[in-house]
């Protein structure tokens, strides 16, 4: 069930990476920021987390688009571009962490939304997890449809295949990048709003989720939808088993170990395109 949310997290990083060749190191912090926003709306105004979700998504989109428009978009596209962009998102990551700490404190928070569980066919399904899973699937489906059927979505896919080719076809590259980064951050925010229903979060956890999202993308392969889902399920299951067998602390390092294993054994991921 957690796998669905992990999958959603990784879609955002996957999209941005595909389009820009850069990983957003602040991805996890967008997740945490949206989680805290959801928590705050719930605790203060008793707003249903599912209603808060679009608010978080809008916030993520705006922040992401601004980051791209005013910061990453201004990085000169030469050989040092990847390095500079990585460092820049690292800076953004700390801005977000600190902002979250100032606004919401450093404690762990969670939303107690729909405790209890449903019994279906002799199995117990925790209500909050099931809803989080369904919502994550719905958002993922919406993204798939967007990329597949709308012009903006097709432009994004074109840019991720070939920047020059897309440019020749008259696609506005900077604009497409702004939209992609905005959507990437919006997806992170959606994942964060769902995550806070399942786990307790704290501002310092952003890095951990950036790494998880990245690991899922690497396991599944860049640019692959089924890969992202499979990667998410593998990561979710491994963490749960590691938590059972050893301790919850071990679970935190699992993402990294899987990531390294896959990279050393099969660099293009389980479903990825072979780099040409």
């Amino acid at each position: 069930m957690v796998g669905g949310v992990y999958g959603l997290m990784s879609l955002g990083i996957n999209l941005v990476w595909g389009v820009m060749g850069v990983v957003n190191l602040a991805h996890g912090d967008f997740i945490i920021a949206a989680g805290f926003l959801t928590f705050w709306l719930f605790a203060r105004y008793h707003l249903n987390p599912l209603v808060a979700l679009p608010v978080g998504v809008a916030m993520g989109f705006v922040l992401g688009a601004l980051t791209q428009k005013f910061l990453l978009g201004k990085v000169p596209q030469d050989r040092g571009a990847v390095k500079t962009s990585l460092l820049m998102t690292f800076g953004v990551s700390y801005i977000l962490i600190n902002a979250a700490q100032l606004l919401f404190g450093s404690e762990f928070q969670t939303v107690m939304f729909l405790p209890g569980s449903w019994h279906v066919a002799g199995l117990d399904f925790a209500k909050s997890r099931t809803i989080a899973f369904l919502m994550a699937s719905a958002v993922s489906l919406a993204l798939w449809a967007f990329l597949r059927f709308t012009f903006a979505g097709r432009a994004i896919r074109a840019v991720s295949q070939s920047v020059d080719g897309a440019s020749v076809c008259g696609i506005d590259i900077p604009r497409t990048r702004i939209v992609s980064f905005g959507i990437g951050s919006a997806l992170a925010s959606a994942a964060g709003a769902l995550l806070v229903m399942i786990f307790a979060i704290s501002p310092a956890m952003g890095n951990g989720y950036t790494i998880r999202s990245f690991a899922v993308t690497v396991i599944g392969g860049l640019g692959s939808f089924p890969g992202a889902l499979l990667g998410a399920v593998i990561l979710g299951m491994s963490e749960v088993f590691a938590g059972y067998l050893a301790s919850a602390q071990i679970a935190n390092g699992i993402a990294f170990l899987l990531f390294l294993l896959v990279l050393l054994a099969r660099p293009q991921g389980l479903f990825g395109r072979k780099p040409s």
């Binding site: 201004k74 390095k83 820049m88 962490i97 790494i211 990245f214």
Partner: protein, 313 residues
């Protein structure tokens, strides 16, 4: 070296020695911390300034140094200078297999790999209770005086400057730069890139390890949170890029300027520390991506050129 350079170096050495002789405890502590950061910035600069491998995990060696020292001193009652040295050797020894695996990864893969490695070490430090005492941490006996530690940190900076300036002008430095420019082209030109970057990675790992060891003594306490401080990673990276990544004096200038500024201004806004660091990173990268020293050098060069033009007219 020109006469001016020798003069400046002599003045700097005299200044560094004068601080513990005449300065207050507070001043010595402040300069000590600054030197630790400058030393770490030199380490980061070697691997990430010269090549294109941006490491966000140098703090893992900082933690290794801190824990090695704590364990050696409490369990085997080592003297502190020896313990710090062993810490550096331990970090370098770990950096060999780690670098072998990590340096095959480029760009984002390497960056996130190192970021993840810090978390793994932090996890090991909290889970391996028999060795590290887990979340409770290890208390160290007080080690000598702050002044002795201070000279340790000054030594670290001196080694950083010496190593960087000799590498900067060597064939090894050129190899590293060529990896930073275009790794595939460098390989095609016959540069053994794997060897060069692994060597740089290993040397770079010793700096944060020494800093971590000295820091452990200053604090007299090591636990998983203080041994792997993410906030130090940002500060170190910021200092190196602010001064100028891939230059000999960039880390020193950036480190001293930002530390002083931090002590003067941000001590009042302790809560906003990380926010400001993140903001400055972003602003520096946006408006001065090459860093302060190359920027000043370029300004000086263009001023000299226009001066010459004016004189010719």
């Amino acid at each position: 070296m020109t006469r001016l350079e020798i003069l400046v170096a002599a003045a700097a050495v005299a200044f560094v020695i004068a601080i513990p002789l005449f300065g207050s405890e507070y001043l010595v502590g402040f300069v000590f911390t600054t030197f630790l950061f400058v030393g770490m910035a030199y380490g980061w600069n070697l691997i990430s300034g010269y090549t294109a491998y941006v490491s966000f995990g140098q703090v893992s060696f900082f933690g290794i140094g801190a824990y090695t020292v704590a364990i050696l001193v409490t369990k085997l009652s080592f003297e502190w200078p020896l313990a710090v040295l062993v810490g550096a050797v331990a970090a370098a020894a770990l950096a060999v297999p780690l670098g072998w695996a990590m340096l095959r990864l480029r760009g984002p893969y390497f960056a996130l790999g190192m970021l993840g490695f810090v978390q793994v070490l932090q996890m090991v430090a909290s889970a391996w209770t028999r060795l590290t005492n887990g979340g409770e941490g290890i208390y160290l006996p007080p080690a000598g005086s702050l002044r002795a530690l201070y000279f340790g940190s000054a030594f670290l900076v001196a080694v950083g400057i010496a190593a960087t300036s000799s590498i900067d002008r060597s064939a090894f430095g050129l190899r590293l730069r060529s990896i930073g420019e275009d790794e595939i082209a460098a390989e095609a030109m016959g540069v053994d890139t794997t060897r060069a970057k692994l060597l740089a990675f290993v040397i770079a790992s010793a700096f944060p390890a020494v800093a971590g060891g000295l820091y452990a003594f200053r604090l007299s306490y090591v636990d998983p949170a203080s041994a792997f401080p993410g906030s130090y990673e940002v500060q170190v990276i910021l200092m190196a890029i602010f001064g100028g990544a891939g230059t000999v004096f960039g880390p020193l200038v950036g480190g001293v300027l930002l530390s002083t500024l931090g002590e003067a201004l941000w001590a009042r806004f302790a809560e906003l520390h990380l926010f400001l660091f993140g903001l400055i990173i972003v602003v520096v990268l946006r408006y001065m991506p090459e860093g302060l020293i190359p920027r000043l050098r370029r300004l000086a060069a263009s001023a000299a050129a226009s001066g010459r033009k004016a004189a010719a007219r």
